[in-house]
Amino acid sequence: MTIQDEQLPDISTGLLALIVRDVSLAVKRPGDVLNPLFFFAMVAALFPLVIGPGTEQLQSIGPGVLWVAALLATLLSLNSLFLSDHEDGSLEQMLVSPVPLAALALGKSAAHWLSSGLPLVLVSPVIAMTYQLSLSVTGVLMLTLLLGTISLSLLGSVGAALTVGLHRGTALLSLLILPLAMPVLIFGARTVSLVAAGDGVAGGLYFLGAYVLLMLSIAPFATAAALRISNE
């Protein structure tokens, strides 16, 4: 068995290798992935039980509750984003690697989204059924969650990088991330509510898409800078 020789450490090869590594780690330790997912499902599924079966009421609170639960579940999973890498020294190896750190930060966010954001989007229609949301509204919900969780994975990596050296950084992480995550939450939940009331979706989706692009262009660099600071 030989390891392939490369002329130069290719950025995309490094990024891809990191994504493959993190996703296969998530597959080998499913607990880390399933915990936030269970949290999301439980919180969102308990509301209809307490509130009662009134269709109109459920349909009106559904989008908001699902979105809040998704945001909190994502925050829960973000804490461990760089933690194990920090503890076993692989974060240090990333810092001294010739592959640009921002590219590796992007890889960490991508792997985080694949192992926490995407599963959340995929289970959301099941939870949406308990709120008796119609098929078209559920579709829009999935679309907003898809865009929203990408933003949250990118934005969250900055917060996780800043708090990685701290013990019990969870509260601080939430405090740092929540203000910047508010637009995603508000636009995500409102877009779904508006569709349910018969309005158009374009505006909300455009905003969420723009936020993804904004985060994509800023977050990897901010994460890289934050990692250098927290590893001093």
């Binding site: 068995m1 030989t2 240090e92 010739p98 590893n231």
Partner: protein, 202 residues
């Protein structure tokens, strides 16, 4: 190729770890950082690697300050800290394959390196199940597989048996003989037939 530094100064809180340190390292030379526990060997090593910001002083790679040449220096440097930097849930091969994507690889046979380190029977086990000494050997494989010129090693002989310590000294010697450079932080002596420069930290 030259790695040099001048006027390196670092404070930790009020305490001065080192002040006005300088060195110049050429191909084939070993720089040994000596000192008791807590004397700042690791901090100095991290500072040279660019992981720690210095109070003052400049580290230069081929005459250019590191902060401006980070990419090119990191391309020529490989780092071995006291943490193995391996994922316990992945096998040795999976770990090293990921490493291979992160830095340039030397033209060596993967199997040969594993055999040299006595790891060839452990390739399918998750790294978690290896002993600390064996994990140390996997970290050594990272150095042997990379094409980097500068080896930065923090206590490379920690957790290793006598045989392992001899092995470390031997492969560092071979690396220097090929024109490589090494900076080693160690509290034990490092017996080598190579030009050795020493920095003793108080």
């Amino acid at each position: 190729m030259q790695l040099s530094a001048d006027h390196l100064t670092l404070y930790r809180g009020q305490r001065c770890l080192f002040k006005g340190l300088g060195f110049a390292l050429n191909p084939g030379e070993l720089l040994l950082l000596e000192g008791s526990n807590g004397s700042g060997k690791t901090s100095l090593l991290r500072a040279i690697a660019g992981l720690l910001e210095l109070e003052s002083g400049t580290v230069r790679w081929n005459g250019t300050p590191l902060l401006r040449e980070r990419q090119s220096f990191q391309n020529s440097m490989v780092w071995m800290s006291h943490k193995p930097g391996l994922k316990g849930d992945l096998t040795l091969v999976e770990n090293l394959r990921y490493e291979a994507a992160l830095r340039l690889q030397a033209e060596v046979e993967f199997a040969t390196v594993l055999k040299q380190l006595g790891l060839n029977r452990l390739t399918r086990l998750p790294v978690r199940s290896l002993s600390a000494g064996q994990q140390r050997r996997v970290a050594l494989a990272r150095l042997l597989l990379s094409s980097a010129t500068v080896w930065m090693m923090d206590e490379p002989t920690a957790n290793l048996d006598a045989e392992g310590r001899d092995l470390v000294v031997k492969i560092v010697g071979q690396h220097l003989a090929k024109g490589g450079m090494a900076i080693v932080a160690a509290h034990q002596d490092f017996d080598l037939d190579a030009p050795v420069k020493r920095i003793r930290l108080q």
